[in-house]
Amino acid sequence: MTIMQIIFLITASVTLFAALMVVSTRKMMHAAMWLILVLFGVTITFALLETRFFAIVQLVIYIGAIAILIIFAVMLTRRSMNADVPQVNRNWWLVMVSSLALFVGLVTVMSVWEGFFVTARTAPPGGENLVQLGTALVDPNGFVLPFEVASLVLLAAMVGAIYVAAERKEK
């Protein structure tokens, strides 16, 4: 067993345990903190695959921005501090069935793909080729359309957020 495998096993088990804690812990604030641990585990998994760019992007976006946003949202949520509210409402079985169906569906679809059974390959030692990634994102033959659509969606979300947050002047 190589050292990388040991690190991977520790990371994976901690990540899965933390993911379980996110949904089972009683306090919402603690759930947010467990979520941060999950995201950190994913960062380490990316780093173990030598995909440095994605590891750092995971750190910047998910921990640096989204996790902090989630913590803010939790703090601004009513009744987030007390733990004696029920954890589930009466639709819990519906959610369980649909999430199980989603999981089974994803695994079925993925198992058809030939990359599913390939052992994970690591990026070359200098890290992945960022120039290639950048050109692929703005290349008409590459992924320029999804890239632009994603930008448009984010722009729309930003405009919407500013509209919702703006003070209306009383006439």
Binding site: I3, M4, V57, L59, G64, I68, G126, G127
Partner: protein, 412 residues
Amino acid sequence: MGFIQFLIDPVTFIARWLQMLLAGWGVPAGWTQFILFVLGAGALGTGALMFTIALIWFERKLIGRFQDRFGPNRVGPWGIFQPFADMGKIFTKEYITPDGADPVPFYLAPILVVMSVVSLWAVIPFTLTVVGVELNVGVLYIIGIGGIGELAIIFAGWGSNNKYAMLAAFRALAQLISYEVPMVIALLVPVMFAGKMGLNDIARAQDIWYIVLCPLAALIFFITSTAENGRTPFDLLEADSELVAGFNIEYSGLRFGFYYVADFLHAFTIGLLFAILFLGGWRGPFVEQVPVLGVFYLFAKAGIVYFIGNWMRASLPRFRIDQMMDINWKILTPTALVLVMLTAVVDKLIASELLYLQAAVLFVLNVVLLVVIGKVIDWYWAHRPRPKVVATPRPVARYERSSAQSHPGAGQ
């Protein structure tokens, strides 16, 4: 031969020697690498924290001189052992955990704060051969590690079960998140020039220091990183006179010491990053032949930036929170955006073979932009909307008032 080799490049020499030693003991290659990484990380982290002791003494002495005081001068010659006395004091102080504190975030926050600073040292190229990780996304890594510092502040505020700590954490977080925006945009400029995001690649690409090519980006980076560090004039995070201590109000003993150490180390780390991004990093005469010289060049350049930061800390008053936000969103962010666009255009218009012409044009462009922004700010300041005065000011402390208070009911 071996000794000369050691003098020229000690760290690589020791690493190679250890590698050979471990291979001789029959340790597998993967484990050897792992042991070397752990040793290197341990040495670097310990070195950085030990260096902080010297920094604390130096900064107290320097600021003392700036403010016409002596600074520490009792313990040892020039007070040089003062930090050790302080350490002894802070190690032996009681750890107080406030009632109702959330233990895990409360204990985790000081560790994360120190981690967010020491982790930055992992990607810093001390000389062309000595670098913790040759990360191809080094600049992005700096931003990402900043996120861990923000997390620590919110953990501290939440975990202490103190509403003042919580409010101060919100204040601090508002400042940190805001100043990240112009910082990221300004960092795009050196990345554009070098065409790479690795810090060592950026240092290697600086045939002309980037502070000549983009003085404005350097200025924005310096201002925003001072704000990220929470130092004067941006020390609203722990405005001692108003907020007691800000988000770390409930910490005592070594846990408070962690914040203290992180603050001082961060100030110098900013100097290192500035030196690498804009002052050519380890570059200097004879560095190709004798790599160890690069460390001295880098620390000398970083020391100059650190000195300027301390100069500011010693002499400037603090911003108000609305002024702090105005500077960020109304001045720094638009300036950085305009600068990035102009730089990209000029960088593509003038071929990079004409290096000196390009540098001259970019320098002039930056200076013109700086002057124009100064004019715009002056114009805005002259025409700024002012609150309407609704009543004539009435001074509170008047003689009649004081006499009315001594006879209740008499003044009505």
